[in-house]
Amino acid sequence: MGISYFDDTPHVDQVGVEERIARFSTRSIKKTSKMQALKLALNMIDLTTLEGKDTPGKVNQMCYKAMHVCNQLPELPTVAAVCVYPNHVKTARKALNGTEIKVAAVATAFPSGNSTSSIKLEDTQFAVSEGAHEIDMVISRGEFLRGNYNFVFDEIAAIKDACGKARLKVILETGELSTLDNVRKASDLAIQAGADFIKTSTGKIQPAATMPVTLVMLQAIKDHYKKTGKMVGMKPAGGISTAKVAINYLVMLHETLGDSWMTNEWFRFGASSLANDLLMQIGKEQHGIYQSKDYFSND
């Protein structure tokens, strides 16, 4: 018998979770509260490029966008971070030099996580040494699903050590975990192993982030906070592309964890196309007319 990580892990009823989600999604966020939410969502974005064909040129363009989300609209915050593969960390750090924007690197044989522990550690150490502020690791889903929880726990703990000062986001890849019960278990496991953030998805597997999955993870964070007083961050990633959905997530965050979590220190959106939709909505709120994609840059 290994250590039991799940003594306090409650069961999750999927239908009940979805009913709760329906309540968040029917909140009506208007006027000043909408403007606040749009700007906050923008400020919480991890602008991401994770493609095989990524080049320094592409990364540089994205970094420029991160700093200047829309020069035409005044008083906009920047995004929170850019998220790249380890080999592009240096490029990103250079491009973002002197700004507040952080550089996050996916590591640990992203996205499958299928490699040796030593390679995963090296991957992480490399990204950190290149200057990554944040490491987005993937858990070994195969080991998790076969019940090898000690392995998953130890791996996260080892990567956490390797992160040093960098903050560790642990990607559960919920689209491969099948049930919300598994999502809750994996969340508890990752939190206990030292995750600074838990994150839904790599973006490479469907479904990526969903509100039910995110709610279950938020509840794991909340229970941990109640027990230990320690805050853990949350990052839904993939599939959140509209301002409306982003606001729904913020409502969920607001009503589940409360205002202390409503900063990009504790909540991120892993998304690339969300920014422009937020901008279009901000433009609509400021000018009172509906916007077109043609007026917003696509980097």
Binding site: D13, Q14, V15, G16, E18, S178, T179, L180
Partner: protein, 294 residues
């Protein structure tokens, strides 16, 4: 010298026992020549109360027996009746029924018991439903017994009326306190002896003898009784019991004893009269292939 016959004492049947009425009262049952056939116990409201206590006590066990087992027990009752056929016929005849009618009534009574025995584990299937609700829930409705039923027999028969009252009520898992026909009480007591020697747990059926005019209002007002069945034809009594039933929202059924011998009295809806419908909801988790093909 001719042998002296040993006469039978007709008592009440409560909780599987044969007590005399606590009141010590009786009424003489006369034949057409005004001769006393028997001294019949004149049940009091306290006897009724004791019977309800017995019926309530038996309800949990009887209702949670398997339906199949209830069916077997009802069938066993029919078997025991068959063995006592001649006794029932004789009793009907001393109460003034012709031999051919008596034989017919006993046969019909036994067959009716067999009929309801068969329903014990089937009516649920006919009257349940899986309800296609518009949310991700499994939803089903099933009949469940109401609880303790109090019944008043009419005066149209001695045996068949009683069987027609008792069988559908207990087939559905209820327990019952029944006041036998005031005019023809003999078979009721003999039927109690059948029950006592069958596998029916004590208290499931409790048979009182006495006068409806005296205790119908107490039967209707008792707060631990869930439903009433009235098979007489006294309009004033019907009104009284229906009014008093409202004290604890008892379900009231008034049933005619006309043409008791007909098949229309063999009817699963008579079982359903004493059933509640319980609807249960439970979520259905839909993950993975939940929304796709399979």
């Amino acid at each position: 010298m001719e042998r002296i016959e040993v006469l039978k004492t007709y008592k009440l049947y409560i909780g599987g026992q044969f007590p005399r009425t606590e009141s010590g009262r009786y009424y003489p049952l006369l034949n057409s020549k005004k001769q006393t056939l028997a001294n019949i116990s004149l049940a009091s409201r306290k006897d009724y109360r004791n019977a309800v206590v017995a019926a309530r006590g038996a309800f949990g066990g009887w209702s949670s027996k398997t339906a199949f087992n209830r069916g077997q027990i009802l069938y066993r009752i029919a078997e025991m009746m068959e063995g006592r056929k001649m006794q029932f016929v004789d009793e009907l005849m001393v109460q003034g029924i012709s031999k051919s009618n008596a034989v017919k009534e006993v046969q019909t009574s036994i067959d009716r018991m067999v009929y309801y025995s068969g329903w014990c584990d089937k009516f649920q299937q006919c009257f349940s439903a899986v309800n296609p609700v518009s949310s991700s829930h499994f939803n089903f409705s099933v009949p469940e017994p109401m609880g303790v039923v109090a019944a008043i027999s009419g005066n149209s028969s001695s045996l068949l009326g009683l069987i027609s009252i008792i069988a559908p009520v207990i087939a559905g898992g209820n327990t019952i306190v029944v006041l036998a026909s005031e005019k023809y009480p003999l078979c009721g007591v003999t039927f109690a002896e059948v029950l006592a020697t069958s596998d029916l747990p004590g208290g499931v059926v409790n048979i009182l003898t006495g006068k409806s005019s005296e205790i119908h209002s107490h039967m209707a007002s008792h707060m631990d009784v869930n439903a009433l069945l009235y098979c007489g034809d006294d309009k004033a009594e019907i009104k009284t019991i229906s009014e008093l039933a409202a004290l604890n929202v008892k379900r009231v059924f008034v049933r005619s004893e006309k043409k008791l011998e007909k098949d229309e009295h063999e009817n699963p809806y008579y079982i359903m009269d004493f059933q509640e419908i319980k609807t249960t909801w439970h979520p259905i988790e839909r993950v993975g292939g939940g929304s796709g093909n399979y």
